[in-house]
């Protein structure tokens, strides 16, 4: 029977009203939303108030999308250096000497200890280096990070395993995300989004950013700061590093590190009170202050080397012991450079270099134009379809049109709750679902017409139309859903936005085209008692 029980009507209407209410915050701009949230009396529980809104994609609001990749080579180089230092320390502790020093091999280091007794002393200590991967407490056994191979003639090779490197990359991404967050927190209203993507990537999205040059400069530096001393003539343990304010000429710098970036507690851009040059003021923590104080006391008159990412950025002469724990970096810097330097120092060093593998920037003008064009296309498509459905199915077309409007409203409602991102392809998705949403209604109406012609009574024709068309509706929507779901998992950014809209559209169309239309037709039948189909 063509009946809709009272409870079913209430349930249907309630779901639709809630769904539409959820879309309300998305219809407001930021200020209106704030005002509306403030206007809600405080005794209303906040979870009852729809407050979430759709997020506009960067292609609509303008902004920068930068995909960074942790440089695995750079990371491995750093890890091998650490391994080398560890091996050197162990050799020294155990008083064992390697015949040809510590050789670097791909992914690791090699030493040669021919004496068996020496090896017996050495091996247990070396084995400590091959820590198991993962958290032992969580029982995540995954092999060892470092593999140790020994040949009978005493060649010992320590190499990072594949799993070990992957683990380091994973950790490096985690650390990098934190550092990136501190570096690009511009402190404005823009809220950058920073997410891990895949195994070794970080996706940074900054709405409203027009020229990501500063961002790229900030993220392009590892930010590894070291305070060392310029080597005196004849010193042996030195690195030859390029000196910035002498056109990149290489100067000898002692290997010993007095203090490093990790010892800083603060760094601020400032101007020198005498020369009015831009400088960076910094403050050490207790450990850094002690070591720096001691070193400057002992090396009065010598030149300090302030090394950033293996470049000497400044080499001031130590005029007096610096024991107060604070100091300044001066050099021939521009204001922008000291600003960036201060941010780099405050944020700490990246565990490895980050490479930009993809960049997409949309200016605010294009975003605005896209929104405008998307709106126009949506309205026009809506009007086309509404007129067309009404012209074809009359009153039933009107029912379908109401269902269509609710359908679009519900897509916005669902997207608001999910705080989904609306992109330009997403708008295309909405326009496309306007066309396909009425498909279900068309299927039902054509079926009703057919059943009526075949001699059924009106009620039974409507009933049969809905029932028989339903299987086809499920079928045809599932096929669309298959494509949409694959697209969702495959695509990123804008394309994914399209898939989201499409999937939600398929879900809501079943509610609106089937349940809501059926309810309207049932009510119409009960009130009007019509004798013939209106189309």
């Amino acid at each position: 029977m063509l009946r809709f029980s009272r409870s079913k009507i209430i349930a249907t209407v309630a779901i639709i009203v809630i769904g539409l209410l959820l879309a309300v915050p998305s219809a407001m701009n930021r200020e209106q939303r704030q005002a509306y949230l403030n206007a809600i009396p405080s005794w209303v529980p906040h979870w009852l108030v729809p407050s979430r809104a759709i997020v506009l994609g960067l292609d609509l609001q303008g902004g920068s999308h930068v995909l960074l990749e942790v440089d695995a080579q750079d990371l491995l180089r750093g890890q091998v250096t650490l391994l080398r230092d560890d091996v050197r320390r162990i050799l020294r502790d155990t008083r064992v000497s390697s015949q040809n020093g510590i050789q670097t091999v791909p992914r690791g280091v090699q030493i040669r200890v021919p004496d068996a007794a020496d090896r017996d002393r050495l091996m247990p200590r070396l084995r400590e280096l091959s820590q198991p991967i993962g958290n032992a407490m969580l029982g995540q056994a995954g092999g060892n990070a470092v593999e140790i191979n020994t040949t009978p003639d005493g060649v010992i090779t320590l190499t990072y395993t594949e799993a070990g490197i992957n683990e380091r990359i994973r950790r490096a991404v985690d650390q990098s995300i934190e550092v990136v967050r501190r570096r690009i927190d511009f402190g404005g209203t823009t809220e950058p989004s920073i997410q891990r993507q895949g195994a070794d990537r970080i996706l940074v999205q900054v709405p409203g950013l027009q020229d990501p040059q500063q961002l790229k400069t900030l993220l392009g530096e590892t930010g590894n700061l070291e305070f060392r001393l310029l080597a005196q003539p004849g010193a042996t343990d030195v690195d030859m590093l390029p000196m910035e304010d002498q056109g990149g000429q290489r100067v000898p710098v002692e290997r010993r590190v007095i203090a490093e970036g990790g010892d800083l507690t603060d760094a601020q851009p400032a101007f020198d009170s005498q020369s009015h040059q831009p400088i960076v003021n910094f403050r050490f923590n207790i450990r850094g202050a002690q070591r720096f104080g001691q070193a400057t006391t002992e090396n009065l008159g010598r030149q300090l080397a302030i090394v950033l990412d293996n470049r000497v950025i400044s080499a001031p002469t130590i005029q007096s012991p610096i024991t107060g724990g604070s100091g300044q970096i001066s050099g021939s810097f521009t204001v922008e450079q000291v600003n960036n330097l201060a941010v780099l120092l405050r944020s700490g060093a990246l565990p490895a270099k980050l490479t930009i593998v993809e960049e997409r920037t949309v200016g605010p003008g294009l975003g605005r134009d896209s929104i405008q064009a998307g709106k126009t296309a949506t309205y026009v498509a809506g009007i086309f379809v509404i007129i067309f459905m009404f012209a074809t199915y009359g009153l039933f077309g009107l029912f379908a049109n109401i269902a269509l409007l609710v359908h679009v409203g519900l897509i916005f409602g669902l997207m608001s709750v999910l705080e989904a991102t609306l992109t330009l392809p997403g708008i295309a998705g909405i326009v496309l679902t306007i066309g396909t949403a009425v498909d279900s209604n068309v299927l039902i109406y054509e079926r009703i017409r057919e059943e009526f012609k075949a001699g059924r009574s009106m009620v039974s024709a409507i009933q049969a139309g809905f029932d028989r068309a339903f299987a086809t509706i499920v079928d045809s929507n599932s096929t669309m859903a298959i494509a949409a779901v694959i697209l969702f998992f495959l695509g990123s950014g804008p394309v994914r936005g399209f898939a989201v809209v499409f999937i939600l559209g398929i879900l809501t169309t079943v509610l609106t085209a089937v349940t809501l239309t059926r309810m309207m037709i049932a009510l119409w039948y009960h009130w009007m008692r019509p004798k013939a189909l209106p189309f």
């Binding site: 930009i356 896209s370 296309a377 498509a381 067309f388 298959i482 494509a483 697209l487 495959l490 695509g491």
Partner: protein
């Protein structure tokens, strides 16, 4: 009020006759597409080819394309494609991928911003490095292949074998013809195009499924009707719905083509073409295909015991 009817009631049109034209036509177009694909190929966008794309707009409203081209070629970043598009002095520049790995791409953007920044507004800048473009090619291909496989499984569970084979042929046909559209029109082929192809796969199947649902229903009702007649009947029964849905979808897409803006136009055009192709293939390819694959063979497999005895009589 007189209501519009796009398709006459009680039509008895002989759709199956079309196959004499549609089969050779589609075969020729498919072969041509394949040939052109291997000779000329697709006009890959930077998603798949890597490189840098910039869309700039003259602040004065008047772009000097010749000068931009000359300046940009002087950068020494390889062959640059400069094109005017849209309305008010909008120009797109496309630089090829730079050798020297991921970091080398950034130099292109910097140089262009420094050079044109004063007179032009940078509306869009996209740089895709070699690694990402390689991955996008991979995931795009996987996506299309996966969708075909997923659809195959769906059809396998949902339909008899013969119907499933016929619909998958129709879907493959639509994919090939869509790619043909890209080859012939030189439309840029990028990640959005993959989205369009996947949507067309969904729509193609949707069209076929609606017809075949009816075919199956009629097969049970008219157990002895010849395949050709049965298929004609199924299409005639569903034709008014097919026309209506194609019309509403095409109207929406037309709105997108006309008003959706340049950024989405390509997608909308492909989809509009896809709707036409899918409708055509459901009627003129997948359905008549069943005449050759054999329609009744399936009945002995799926129809319940009792009715099978009846059918055998």
């Amino acid at each position: 009020m007189r209501l519009v009817r796009l398709w006459p009631e009680n039509s008895h049109f002989d759709f199956m006759r079309f196959r004499r034209f549609s089969f050779p036509l589609s075969a020729v177009i498919s072969i041509l597409t394949a040939l052109m694909l291997f000779s000329g190929g697709l006009n890959f966008g930077i998603d798949f080819r890597g490189g840098t794309l910039m869309e700039i707009q003259a602040k004065s409203g008047q772009a000097n394309v010749g000068q931009i081209r000359q300046t940009a070629e002087g950068f020494g970043f390889g062959d640059v494609e400069v094109q005017e598009f849209g309305a008010a002095g909008e120009v797109s520049l496309r630089f090829p991928i730079q050798s020297g790995g991921e970091a080398a791409q950034a130099a292109v953007v910097q140089k262009a911003r420094d050079t044109f920044g004063n007179d032009y507004e940078f509306r869009r800048v996209e740089t895709v490095g070699p690694r990402v473009s390689g991955e996008l090619v991979q995931s795009g291909t996987i996506g299309v292949v996966l969708s075909v496989i997923a659809v195959l499984f769906y059809l396998w569970f949902r339909f008899e074998r013969e119907l499933a084979i016929a619909s998958i042929i129709g879907t493959l046909h639509d994919i090939v013809l869509t790619i043909g559209f890209f080859v012939i029109t030189r439309h840029e082929f990028n990640m959005t195009s993959i989205a369009a192809i996947l949507t067309i796969v969904g729509y193609s199947l949707n069209e076929t499924v609606v017809v075949f649902d009816r075919t199956r229903e009629l097969m049970r009702r008219y157990k002895t009707m010849p395949a050709e007649e049965l298929l004609n009947l199924s299409i005639n029964h569903t034709m008014s719905r097919t026309v209506m849905t194609a019309a509403t979808t095409a109207l929406s897409l037309l709105a997108l083509v006309l008003f959706g803006g340049q950024a989405i136009q390509g997608f909308a055009q492909v989809m509009l073409y896809g709707v036409v192709i899918c409708t055509y293939s459901a009627i003129c390819i997948s359905s008549p295909m069943l005449i050759y694959i054999g329609l009744r063979g399936s009945e002995t497999v799926k129809v319940p015991e009792g009715s099978r005895a009846a059918a055998a009589e």
